[in-house]
Amino acid sequence: MSTATQTRTAPALRFAAGVLRPLLNVIVTMTAVIVLWIAFLQVYDLDPLVAKSPVDIFHYLFTGADAGAHRSLVSSGLGRTLLDAGFGFVAGLAAAVGVAVVFVLLRSVEQALLPMAVVVRSVPLVAMTPLITLIFGRGLMATTVISGLIVFFPALVTMTFGLRSASRQAADLCRAYGAGDWTIARKVMLPSAVPAFFASARIGVPGALIGAMLAEWLSTGQGLGYAMLKDSSTFDYDHLWASVAVLTAVSALAYNIIAAIETVALARFAPNIRPGT
């Protein structure tokens, strides 16, 4: 009896811990950022007109005059940036999974295309953005491509590795029962690449945001990426620092949300896939 309840409560506990721990992480991360922020201002003795403190930003966003207007300004920019980053994130990850599967199934394709991918990745995106703008215009397509490219490459490498790490015995067993390459990829490789997928997703979050802002700065002229550039020429350092703070918080939150989903997903997938390890 006692063992039965134990087995029933254990996953529930694990689930709760998996969801709560990332939330706790967000709080810890943000506290650390704020402490570093204050220390940085103290050590470098920066001019308060240019270097804003967390208190200034709180005042700007919540307690000061026009706080409501400031909040709506920051949040409208953030909404745009999150939309741009979201499309890039999804597109980049999906492309990485697709290409990784092709790479694993067809070695010759990998040998032919991987060097090309590395070359493309070696060109600084700042330099490539005008070209991308020329091809894809100045809309959502351009931001998706730029932001997606940043997500794509690390995800591709991690996913290829994840797919390769699938159990050889399981693959052999499937083959013995007459399964083709595609079935093995679907039934054996993809499930065992779930941890790799979540690792790439977590790494991809800040990358997607950076890519979205780069695209906004150089191409579309919308969102926080462009607003922050404009701030420095209009001496609006309150808005600049507030944007950085909000973006950091959102990035940390998104990272940890994915971490929470990961814990839940791995609790379901990981033990079933590789019982031995």
Partner: protein, 369 residues
């Protein structure tokens, strides 16, 4: 292949140019020798003050001066290059002058002055005004350009000659110039919804390729660059279509005005002398920009000379002929304040401009006018 021959050609041109420069320099030197007594004779009152002030300031020694420029080191700052290379700054008591270049990705000028990285910056009233409105303790003590240098450049075969021509067209505007653009739209009463604004950087390639129809830029810079490449372009000055705003203004901290007035006066005297020399010979500053100060930026003396001439037109007006370079009349200040209000900047003239230092300079040295 073409590239290497091209650079060879350029090196050759530079070498011949340098030789030419030496010869011209000698000629100029001769002219200066001849003109020396004449100039001294002209400025009767100056000869006494200039005889006393160098010794006075020489003994004072203001130390090093840092001047933050509003753009890359091109001919836009010709007067400062001349003042530096001819020793006008050192004559006034500065041990050394550091010119800090700007550019599309540099820290804003006002930030450098507020954080004391530079003592003086060259900026514009709209940018300085925005900083002052946010509480920065800054003032404008003089303006190089009496006319606003911004223009809408277009290809000559589809010219934009008046503001309404922009309706239904795509205009490339840089992020740093957004505030000027927004103020211009309001000042001229244009309907912004009928114009497509496109974010661009500073290379006017999109205009020549037709992805935009108009290009926001300094009339001195990109139009001349494109003309020398063989493109036919048209320009429409904002200043000629209802946008009176001085530019390339000297921006300093209020406490510099309060505590180091003599230093600022010495600085302004050196700048006036430098700019007068450039207006007299626009090629002088162009050579310094292309071959010395802006070396490595790929500037050519030919293109820089064109810019230099355009600059003189923006700097010299009937008023400056009467009151001296950099001076802004009260009437023009009032127009400026009105223009700034269109851009959403409500600021009084007294909070933004302080031309009393420049007034004193000209009162003490009337020959500088």
């Amino acid at each position: 292949m073409t590239r290497s021959t091209n650079s060879d050609g350029r090196a050759f041109a530079a070498a011949t140019d340098r030789r030419l420069f030496l010869r011209r320099g000698l000629q100029l030197g001769g002219a200066a020798l001849l003109g020396g007594p004449l100039l001294a004779a002209c400025g009767g009152s100056d000869s006494s003050s200039s005889a006393s002030s160098p010794t006075a300031s020489g003994s004072k020694s203001f130390g090093e001066l840092t001047l933050r420029l509003s753009w890359i080191k091109n001919v836009e700052f010709a007067g400062s290059y001349i003042a530096d290379s001819k020793g006008y700054y050192t004559d006034e008591g500065f041990s050394k002058v550091t010119l800090i270049g700007g550019g599309p990705s540099a820290t804003p000028m006002e930030t450098d002055v507020v954080t004391k990285k530079a003592l003086v910056a060259i900026s514009a009233p709209d940018i300085t005004g925005a900083a002052v409105a946010k509480g920065a303790p800054l003032k404008i003590i003089g303006a190089q350009y009496q006319k606003n240098p911004f223009c809408i450049m277009s290809m000559a075969k589809a010219p934009i000659a008046k503001p309404e021509d922009m309706y239904g067209k795509k205009i490339g505007v840089q992020a740093g110039n957004e505030s000027v653009w927004a103020a211009y739209i309001k000042a001229t009463g244009l309907d912004a919804s009928k114009i497509t604004k496109v974010p661009v950087q500073f290379d006017p390639l999109p205009l020549t390729q037709g992805t935009v129809d108009g290009w926001f830029s300094f009339v001195t810079n990109e139009p001349n660059a494109l003309r020398l490449k063989g493109f036919k372009v048209a320009t429409m000055l904002l200043a000629d279509t209802g946008y009176p705003l001085v530019s390339e203004t000297y921006c300093v901290r209020q406490d510099t005005i309060d505590k180091q007035r003599d230093l600022l006066k010495a600085f302004l005297r050196a700048e006036i002398k430098g700019w007068k020399a450039n207006i007299a010979d626009p090629a002088l500053g162009a050579k310094l920009a292309a071959e010395t100060y802006g070396k490595g930026l790929g500037l050519t003396t030919e293109e820089q000379t064109l810019e230099s001439k355009d600059e003189s037109e923006l700097m010299v007006s009937a008023d400056t002929k009467k009151n001296g370079l950099f001076m802004v009349t009260q009437a023009l200040i009032d127009e400026n304040i009105k223009t700034l209000k269109y851009g959403g900047l409500d600021i009084t003239a007294a909070k933004l401009f302080d031309l009393s230092i420049l007034e004193e300079v000209y009162k003490e040295n009337p020959s500088l006018i």
